[in-house]
């Protein structure tokens, strides 16, 4: 287990019981500031449960804390990018409505001032989404929506950013842009990023550390190391990823190791 550098989010002994079953069992995970951690695992491994526990939506045992220079603080301030939206896509909620709702108490139904509109546009521009300001969120493509939701998540200046299946419904170009923006964020804001995904291609290229979760942390390390772990490939089988991309990933991993 990596120890904390100058700051980190610490998850110690996280255990979740749901309906009499142990869904997560003593999960220990330290995510340093400025680190992107990718969490993968088969269906039912507890990935979503881990996110829900981090969000404080379900009861759990164990401790989740944010530590700065050795001093333990309270729960980390969390920014959350959901996998999907639970709303009627015909709803007339614009991107500006969503961003302004997150940054201002002045109700958007009463009208958005020019100043707030400009502020929303400035926020969106960091995420290559300023042109989406007046679009309805139901009209956005998967990639555009992810960038807007990332912009909204970052408005609360989070210490821990949670990304739930960002690859879902996003094309390759959109996903590449999304991951690049996340990398840029972690460098600029020095935040911890936990990314739950099935997208191993994305993980291999963009995350600093990869966690294989199956109720507890089965393995962790650099993506190329974890992806080349034969036992884990055998243990998790094709359900873990699209098997067709595996040879490519393995060869990429070998190249990286050779280069080292």
């Amino acid at each position: 287990m990596d120890s904390c550098r100058h700051c980190c989010t610490k998850i110690d002994g996280l255990t979740v019981h749901l309906g009499g079953n142990i869904v997560l069992d003593k999960v220990d995970l330290h995510v340093n500031c400025g680190e992107v951690v990718g969490v993968v695992g088969p269906n039912g491994a507890g990935k979503t449960t881990l996110l829900r526990a981090l969000l404080g939506e379900i009861p759990y045992r164990g401790k989740i804390s944010f530590q700065v220079s050795g001093a333990v603080s309270i729960r980390p301030k969390i920014g959350y990018v959901p996998q999907k939206l639970q709303f009627d896509i015909g709803s007339p909620i614009s991107v500006q409505d969503l961003v302004v709702s997150a940054i201002s108490c002045r109700p958007v139904w009463a009208g958005v001032s020019r100043e707030l509109s400009k502020k929303a546009k400035d926020i969106l521009s960091v995420f290559s989404a300023e042109t989406l300001l007046n679009r309805r969120i139901g009209e956005l493509s998967g990639g555009e929506l992810q960038r807007v939701l990332l912009a909204v998540a970052m408005t609360s200046n989070p210490e821990l950013l949670l990304l739930d299946e960002p690859a879902s419904g996003v094309d390759v170009k959109g996903l590449s842009l999304f991951y690049q923006i996340v990398r840029g964020l972690k460098q600029r804001h020095d935040i911890s990023v936990v990314l739950v995904t099935h997208d191993l291609a994305g993980i291999a290229t963009y995350v600093d550390r990869m966690i294989l979760l199956n109720r507890s942390v089965v393995a962790q390390g650099k993506p190329e190391e974890v992806l080349l772990n034969e036992k884990l490939v055998m243990a998790f089988g094709p359900s873990l990823w699209n098997i067709s991309c595996l040879p490519l990933l393995l060869s990429e991993g070998e190249d990286k190791i050779d280069n080292h």
Binding site: R52, L55, G56, E57, I78, G79, Y80, P82, L85, Q86, F87, D88, G90, S91, P92, I93, S94, Q96, D97, L98, V100, S101, A102, S104, C105, R106, P107, V108, W109, A110, G111, V112, N134, R136, I137, L149, V152, A153, S156, L162
Partner: protein, 257 residues
């Protein structure tokens, strides 16, 4: 007529505001259950000897609204089925109690409502309720949008989605119940849904959505009241017909785009 006009001008914007969220959150059936619970509320009032059944109507509707919201949050039950069962039960119970010894005909006025019978005291209550809804909407409007888009996203930003939804359900229960005398149990849900549904065909953001819904609601209310006066028809139903006409126009507009 003056009281009726004042009541319409106070109530229709409220319906528009609440309706925007009812339509966004797909709570139309929920609203119908609340409206129809008035029958049982009246029945309980009659059994307990209330001369004005408004209070038991409000208490029952609020209790139902809070219970349904609680159920929705603590279970994964299919709410559509639960609401369907509740709807059937609550309507049947009210009709059974009120129809004892053939007495149901006394209560048919609640089914279609009568705006012209509104009193200055009732108008005062509408004013108070309108003020409460407006303050709620002003203070929590943005949090409601976040909760509507994704509850987990809202909760990650310290929004208490359960309290917000419960507050909204209570306001909805109160507004629906006190307005039943005006528009009637049968069509109260339509008056909530139609302005917001029509507005969605024009609006591309929340501000336009709310303003269009208010404009359509007030226009339908005033035009319906005047039309019903000259035609000698039930005001509530006439208002709903005009609102339905607005919806058709908006749908044609949307289809042309």
């Amino acid at each position: 007529m003056r009281n009726a006009l004042l009541a319409v001008i106070l109530v229709t914007p409220l319906f528009a505001l609440l309706g925007t969220m009812v339509v966004n959150k797909r709570m139309v059936f929920f609203t119908d259950v609340l409206g129809h619970s008035a029958l049982t509320g009246i029945a309980i009032g009659v059994l307990l000897g209330f001369s004005d059944p408004t209070l038991p109507m409000i208490i029952l509707a609020v209790a139902l609204a809070v219970s349904i919201n609680l159920l929705k949050n603590v279970t994964r039950a299919d709410m559509d089925t639960i609401l369907g069962v509740l709807f059937a039960f609550i309507v049947a119970l009210g009709i059974v109690i009120l129809s004892r010894q053939g007495g149901f005909v006394k209560y048919t006025s609640y089914l279609i409502g009568d705006i012209l019978a509104v009193t200055p005291k009732q108008t005062g209550w509408f004013f108070l309720i309108a003020a409460v809804v407006l303050v709620y909407w002003y203070v929590l409007g943005n949090a409601m949008i976040l909760a509507c888009v994704n509850p987990s996203l809202a909760r990650s930003r310290k929004v208490n989605t359960f309290l917000i939804e419960t507050g909204f359900a209570i306001l909805l229960a109160v507004v629906v119940t006190v307005s039943i005398r005006l528009v009637g149990i049968l069509i109260i849900g339509s008056l909530l849904v139609l302005p917001a549904a029509a507005s969605r065909n024009f609006a591309r953001n929340i501000h336009a959505y709310t303003m269009w819904a208010m404009a359509i609601s007030i226009f339908s209310g005033v035009a319906g009241l005047i039309a019903s006066y000259y035609w000698g028809t039930a005001s509530g139903a006439t208002i709903v017909l005009i609102a339905a006409g607005c919806y058709v126009v908006s749908a044609l507009f949307a289809a042309q785009k």
